[in-house]
Amino acid sequence: MAKRNYRPLASVKALQKTMGRYYALTNYHRYWGKPFRRPLAWVTSGAPVELLRSFKIHSAYPEQYAAIYSARNTTVALCEIADSAGYSQDLCSYARSNIGGVLRPDLAPLGGMPKPDLLVACNNICGTVLKWYEALARHFNIPLLVLDTPYLTDEMTQQAKDYVLEQLYAMAVDLEKITGRPFNEKNLAKQMRQSAEITSLWKETRQYCQANPSPLNAPDLFIHMAPIVVLRGSQEGIDYYRKLKAEVKERVALGQGAVENERIRLVWDNIAIWPQLFTFYKMFADKGACFVSDTYSGGWASLQSPGTPMESLATTYTEVFLNRSPEFRANQLINLIRDYKADGFVMHSNRSCKPYSLVQEVIRKKVMRETGVPGLMIEADMADLRAYAEEPVRNRVQAFLETFD
């Protein structure tokens, strides 16, 4: 029972240092933001942060904090605060715990998030972010900038591309007003280059997991994705992913697997079950099952589209996988299963995330049909522990893993 069946990464130290520095900077923003004329924005995970960085705006991610709240077991208490304020318990648990933390910072880890100067939301990940950020805009009475990236029922269309591009230029004008700095395309180009570099590093690191045994398991991917979410486009991020990549490469050279005696290779679909990050994945690791890839942290490994910096931003952020049809999503999963020689896949039917989850059953059927590998569906929640039924989940996982015996 007590035996750990996974190999810890040395890079965790560097990760803690990099992220620790970021959190310290963020949480002390009130001391340095004004003097350096660098406003603080709360942004969604799919916001075009390169544009914000080119205006020297410091970004903080409510979704990221919500994952931390959850890993530290405070989500339920914070959700209850939001619940009392009238927010239905069926709404996204990231949003509810964030709002709970806004209303009661004393109950939130790290003392809650620092107060923002502006809000930037992009609806490429869901429609919830619009409603969530509207609520925040009313609460803080600060500007809300929204980038509306039309859902792509098929391929990208010219009208969608033009529309997003036009909004980006308008957003640049708004940001000029807010920051008092002029838009500088060269700055943006530099941010885009650094962002491209970090994305490539993350992508290459992940591709090492095609090795057998896989050098990384899902919890590693989930933990080490933090910098690419919050430090995309930064030198610190690049430095960190160089270290991680070197370590993972070495593991492959030495034939070291993340999971001891890897015998089942799986692909994960949907956001991590943060409050059960170790206990849940341990059920798999104990049986020699390793998650060699996933669609979630892989969302940050898509290379930039070509064009001018603004055109590239427009396309890259609109073509995000969550903004695509189930057909596209199924093919993505099929390719992962083939490229990573996976034996099966596990889908987390995540109560909090409808765009990710509602289509999963249709995708599951198609993927099973086309690849011939089994797929398991687990109903839970990315942050709210109350939606996690331990016994039924354990039963299903066990039965699923027994099919590989």
């Binding site: 339920v76 209850e80 605060i81 619940d83 009392s84 304020a85 009238g86 318990q89 522990l385 109350r386 939606a387 996690y388 039924a389 331990e390 016994e391 039924p392």
Partner: protein, 260 residues
């Protein structure tokens, strides 16, 4: 001539009848299981209470019905449980500003104005968490009698954590606690905490103002009373007969009908 008034509360599990006089004194109360037809049971119970009190139907000024069966029960007026509960409680406890009512099927929090009127209220959603039914299911899973819950729970030193908000999930959570050897008393205390935290959250929605009166069938359960009082940070006033307060409110409203 002295007139009398009747309040009938037809709940999902039980039927309650209260008889009062012109001076608003309680002359008698009766209660029984609702069975298949709460309406017929209530009609019989009402007649019996009147005759047991040595009265006849002719001297009854008015009857008000409340509870789930109120709509089809022949009465002078049907009034929701919330309004009746507010009436009954503010009669018994004039200083009450918040009423917490946990019954078999639902739980309610009612905020009162100083004149006893309803200022706001909240009810549980369509889910048994935070109701008497939840306690009942969990007690059954632990093979404990309903009456034993409070006594057992009060001996717990280390309440178990029940995190699921779904009754079915919570039941499986309890079974896994049992299988890991947790004490029955600790699990029961955890169940009481779970009901309390659900209702406490509802209380925050309407705003909490003392004095707080706890009524409804679950108010008999000292385990929940203690857990709730601790979570709210206020002492709770509990009526002596928490089950009949809505029926009392109905009887009081019946007496007002006559005057109007």
């Amino acid at each position: 001539m002295q007139k009398y008034f009747v309040g009938v509360d037809i709940g999902s599990l039980t039927v309650k009848v209260v008889l009062i006089n012109d001076d608003l004194e309680i002359l008698g109360t009766a209660m029984t299981r609702a069975g298949f037809s709460g309406r017929d049971v209530a009609a019989r119970l009402k007649d019996q209470l009147i005759s047991d009190s040595g009265l006849t139907a002719q001297v009854i000024g008015a009857t008000v019905a409340t509870g789930y069966g109120r709509v089809t029960f022949p009465s002078d007026r049907e009034v929701s449980e919330i309004t009746c509960q507010a009436k009954g409680i503010s009669h018994l406890f004039p200083t009450a500003r918040t009423v917490i009512d946990i019954g078999g099927q639902d739980s309610k929090v009612i905020k009162l104005l100083s004149n006893g009127r309803v200022a706001d209220f909240a009810m549980n959603d369509k889910c048994a968490a935070g109701t008497g039914r939840f306690l009942e299911v969990m007690a059954a899973a632990l093979e404990v009698e309903w009456q034993e819950i409070s006594e057992l729970a009060s001996t717990s030193e280390n309440p178990a954590k029940i995190s699921s908000f779904c009754t079915v999930f919570a039941e499986s959570e309890i079974i896994s606690h049992v299988s890991t050897g947790a004490l029955k008393s600790d699990i029961l205390a955890g169940v009481c905490d779970s009901v309390a935290s659900r209702v406490a959250s509802m209380t925050r929605r309407t705003g909490l103002e003392p004095d707080i009166v706890f009524t409804g069938g679950v108010a008999h359960n000292q385990g929940v009373v203690n857990a709730l009082s601790k979570q709210l940070g206020y002492p709770l006033l509990v009526s002596r007969e928490p089950v009949i307060t809505a029926a009392l409110g109905a009887a009081l409203l019946a007496s007002e009908l006559r005057k109007a």
